[in-house]
Symmetry: C2
Amino acid sequence: MADASLAERVRAGDPRALARAISLVEDGSPAGEEMLSSLFLSTGRAWTIGVTGPPGAGKSTLVDQLVRQLRARHQTAGILAVDPTSPFTGGAILGDRVRMQSHASDAGVFIRSMATRGHLGGLARATADAALVLDAAGRDYVIIETVGVGQDEVDIVRLADVSVVTLVPGTGDDVQALKAGIMEIADVFVVNKADREGADRMVASIEAMLALQTVVEDGWTTPVLKTEATRGVGVTELLATLDRFREVSTPLIEERRAARVRAQLRDHVTGLFLQCLDDAVPFSEIDRIAAEIASRKVDPWSAASQVLRRVCPRRES
Amino acid sequence: MADASLAERVRAGDPRALARAISLVEDGSPAGEEMLSSLFLSTGRAWTIGVTGPPGAGKSTLVDQLVRQLRARHQTAGILAVDPTSPFTGGAILGDRVRMQSHASDAGVFIRSMATRGHLGGLARATADAALVLDAAGRDYVIIETVGVGQDEVDIVRLADVSVVTLVPGTGDDVQALKAGIMEIADVFVVNKADREGADRMVASIEAMLALQTVVEDGWTTPVLKTEATRGVGVTELLATLDRFREVSTPLIEERRAARVRAQLRDHVTGLFLQCLDDAVPFSEIDRIAAEIASRKVDPWSAASQVLRRVCPRRES
């Protein structure tokens, strides 16, 4: 009941309710899931931007500048700053506090750090759920900012409708070493700190790599923009580019959203199945079977097939 | 039948059969699974070493030196060089060819590159399966070498009985930025290229971080070794340290192997379940349900619960 009223307050846009709701979904608790399912039918209106890139690329400053422009257009924003790196560094939390202050008096900007709790797969799920909460709260834009360019980050950025990959010249980040996954997810490249030596060379390298890609998305050529986020240079062009993507790429975006829904449905079904599995086959028995596998009395494939038969008695042949 | 004889040839240690068998399991085909389940009961004897670290840390050279020492002890080795990075770079393949040549005449050394095909989770699975093949073939040591220090690599290195994290001084890799996951998986730290400026400082930093860790594994204090792999300096000490770990950490290693078996069992059961799911609920229907979710007619949690009921009719309440 308390959570029903929490969902109400989220829908009304109450920032404190937002913070509590996101904490709830971060925990992955049944109460969080219940709240999400009651919020879900109010979602689907927010526009989600993913911003990724290596540490030091100036992502936070760029996001701040984007938000400033959105606010000037009287649009609201929710920022999810995702840091898949160590709790040792504490970078996200610190940066977050500084940023919180600069927007503290503006109820139109909500900022939240999402940090790893346990497995990274869980972080992508928690970020997706937090984005749903912000969407239900009526935020016009949800910006998902994530450090790094690895597969984990790719999975997180895939949650967005449009993805911006931010790079910076002269940091030793060799463009040639860009992961294939990043080339695929980038709808827009930004070379930030473009006043630095080597910016034009970096733009040219990225464009050369893009030219090598055989698959071209219908109606969209991935642009490579230059920005100087600290001075706000190039940010208007970036926002205009993102607006243009939204206009011309509707079928692509719809297909992405559909693919995301299908993948999430599969994840949810698998999650429920694993709950069934835990109910049907107690841990002690899994331990016993695992011990038999470890001592090579049975192979894991035969054992798995026997275990599945306990949960789904008929289906498995 | 062809695969039954392939399994026979793997068990006999035929290097060409090894190569074919690993290709088969990389594809994740049913034929590969069948072969693995027939090989499985012959596994469990190999000792698996994981070596990870950032690009340029000299992992390949270090592994080559370790292998040289193993060969001097008349022990055989299989090396799995896992590169979760882009096919664009082609680094693993190139490095691999060079290394292949240096061991080309030695049947006691088998080297294989494992590259991303699709999703990274698949790479960890394929690497685990390839390690099983090498184990069944009677290799005394399986060395899993992987680039990077992200979560993906952690998952791959967790396949090993003992894990070596290799770092190098003066590359701008801040020890402070080491991911928590890496601190947890490292049984041995190696500061390679130890003749470089800053090596001792790096050793001291790692030791300071290790001292901060509250959890200490029973009977093992994670050592920080210095090596110069290109000249072979420190490699004898490294191998001696790995031998010592094997001696003193038997309960820990057994627990790791058991945890791995439990996790793999769960993965196999989930994999079989997803096959059931695909059989019971055709793609067209998943598409229809996904469209209903996308148009907010139903929430994903209720939909998932309905889908699960189709596969496991009774269990799900």
